[in-house]
């Protein structure tokens, strides 16, 4: 399972920059960053090296952060590739809360991140549908 770091941010200018600076200064490499916001606040979702260390660094710098388990999938590079993934999750009765996508510089495949209620059953549903589930080691240095 992929460990994603989620950070609560008030909607005030410069806060996102501070967050990335804190991680950069700690030598943490970010692979993906997604901001979800409401009118009042935002949640920043990060895939990065050493997520546990990143969590400690952020908390020590006064950020509200937690680690969330998500699933990473190498989406087949053909029409309907994403639809296949979503259908296999849907047929397993698994609800996708959110998803986002980034491109790995090393490979040419897009990586999709899914947050589901039950990551373990989602993983087995995907594997049995022949979809490639990406392991942490392929994306970042785990800790």
């Amino acid at each position: 399972m992929i460990e994603q770091v989620s950070v609560f941010l008030e909607n005030k200018s410069g806060r996102l920059a501070e967050l990335t600076r804190v991680l950069g200064d700690a030598g943490i490499n970010m692979r993906a960053l997604m901001v979800a916001d409401t009118a009042e606040f935002g949640v920043v979702r990060l895939i990065c090296d050493r997520p546990r260390h990143a969590l400690q660094v952020l908390e020590a710098s006064g950020f509200g952060a937690s680690v969330t388990e998500v699933i990473a999938v190498a989406v087949p590079d053909r029409p309907g590739g994403l639809a296949d993934v979503l259908e296999s999750l849907g047929s397993g009765g698994l609800n996708v809360e959110y998803a986002y996508c980034f491109v790995e510089p090393s490979g040419d495949a897009a990586v999709d991140i899914f947050r589901v209620d039950d990551p373990a059953s989602a993983k087995s549903a995907l594997v049995s549908a022949g979809i490639v589930v990406v392991e942490p080691g392929a994306l970042y240095v785990a800790d």
């Binding site: 008030e10 009042e40 979702r45 006064g62 509200g64």
Partner: protein, 434 residues
């Protein structure tokens, strides 16, 4: 119960006793204290006009400035030959108030403090360490006489020299500690540093007062010391410690109503509020001889806890004091005590009890924003959970304050840690409308 004949007397008997004692007290101050006589005359009231307890509300209030103006002995209602003790409130020069006690006052004070210690479970078998300061401050000697009245072995150690306090606590087999709650915490921490776990000592109860403290602090003290911790209340202008105390139920402080009449008033209109509503605590002493006070405004914020208590005492309970009238805000005509917000937040998981109130003008209306910290252990990924939390905090604060407000969730530890109005409340209403 130390005096069940009084502490558990029927409300009817109690009210008859209160009225009789009130009348005697009013006669006494009208006859003997020039400033009361002048005040009553000016208000067109006379002790003979007070025929029921409800008539008390027709009398003028007494405030701290009245006592200051009478410095030192101007409000004493007994001649100096009858005064056997003098205490004084702390304060800078010119701000000090002086109180005097007759032999009878000291005697009754002993009973009241013995009641307080007994409501923490103390008996003549106990060993009581009094770590309140002795001297002009009423804390040390106030508890001292109560402890002796109870028949407990009394250790008058006073404050300070924390390591020696711990040695005494251990060597003397102390079972009951009387101290300010912050000093009790320091004792607990120092004991651990000395390699002594206070939970291994015979200590079983603590009576803590003389400063405001919270339920969180109670939990901390009870766990660190392995004791029952109760809140006690008093102020030198009214008596000193012994005015009110929690029982083992820890749900409000029973006011010693056979000696003090409590009223809760709206500090803006000065009218009494119904039981259960927050307001300023006002006391009238009805047995004091040295310096009785009539409708003394304490500036403390509390409320009467409605209903009766399972301990069997019939005296009404006041809630733990939650702030000072100086902190009160008037928002859209409603009195708001910031401490009410803290109380709401303490009951909601996922938020820290730290907040800031920001007041603005929107058009001609007051707009209230309450900034609330999300707790550090929240699952921050869940936007829905955050929005749900925001709505819940908004609804609960609005219902407690009886005004609508807007809640803004802010990052953990982003609100400055501080007591007092200056930091808790940011009033931008005079800066124009947005």
């Amino acid at each position: 119960m130390f005096q069940p004949d009084f502490e558990a007397m029927s409300r009817t008997d109690l009210e008859a006793l209160q009225l009789e004692r009130l009348s005697n007290t009013l006669d006494r101050v009208y006859e003997r204290v020039a400033s009361y006589r002048a005040k009553f005359d000016e208000a067109g009231v006379h002790p003979s006009m007070v025929r029921s307890l409800a008539d008390l509300a027709s009398l003028p209030f007494t405030v701290k400035d009245d006592l200051r103006a009478a410095y030192p002995y101007g409000m004493f209602a007994a001649p100096m030959r009858d005064i056997v003790r003098v205490h004084s409130s702390s304060g800078t020069t010119g701000q000090v108030t002086v109180v005097g006690y007759t032999r009878g006052d000291i005697d009754r004070w002993g009973d009241l403090m013995a009641r307080t210690l007994a409501s923490a479970g103390a008996t003549a078998d106990d060993i009581v360490q009094i770590s309140y300061g002795y001297g002009l401050f009423t804390g040390g000697l106030g508890v001292h006489y109560g402890s002796e009245r109870l028949g407990a072995a009394t250790i008058p150690i006073s404050g300070g020299n924390t390591k020696r306090q711990i040695q005494v606590m251990k060597d003397f087999g102390v079972t009951v500690l009387a101290a300010t709650p912050s000093y009790a915490l320091l004792l607990a921490e120092t004991a651990l540093e000395m390699g002594i776990d206070p939970r291994d000592l015979p200590l079983k109860a603590g009576v803590f007062g003389a400063e405001p403290w919270s339920e969180n602090m109670r939990t901390q003290l009870e766990e660190a010391l392995g004791i029952l911790a109760i809140d006690i209340y008093g102020l030198s202008e009214v008596l000193g410690p012994g005015v009110a105390a929690e029982c083992e139920c820890k749900h409000g402080l029973h006011v010693n109503e056979d000696h003090f009449i409590i009223e809760i008033i709206d500090p803006a209109t000065l009218q009494p509020v119904p039981d259960g509503e927050m307001g300023e605590v006002v006391f009238t002493t009805i047995t004091k001889e040295g310096i009785p006070v009539i409708r003394y405004r304490t500036r403390d914020i509390s409320r009467i806890v409605p209903g009766s208590c399972s301990c069997g005492r019939t005296f009404r309970r006041m809630q733990r004091v939650s702030g000072r009238t100086d902190d009160m805000l008037i928002i859209r005509g409603v009195n708001v005590f910031p401490s009410q917000i803290e109380q709401v937040l303490t009951g909601i998981p996922g938020v820290a009890p730290h907040y800031q109130v920001v007041l603005k003008k929107r058009g001609s209306l007051d707009h209230v924003e309450v900034h609330v910290e999300v707790g550090p252990d929240f699952a921050f990924d869940e936007i829905k959970a955050l929005e749900h939390l925001q709505r819940r905090v908004g609804a609960e604060i609005a219902s407690a304050l009886a005004i609508s407000i807007e809640v803004k969730l802010v990052e953990p530890k982003s609100i400055q840690r501080s007591e007092g109005k200056a930091k808790r409340v940011l009033d931008l209403r005079s800066e124009g409308s947005e």
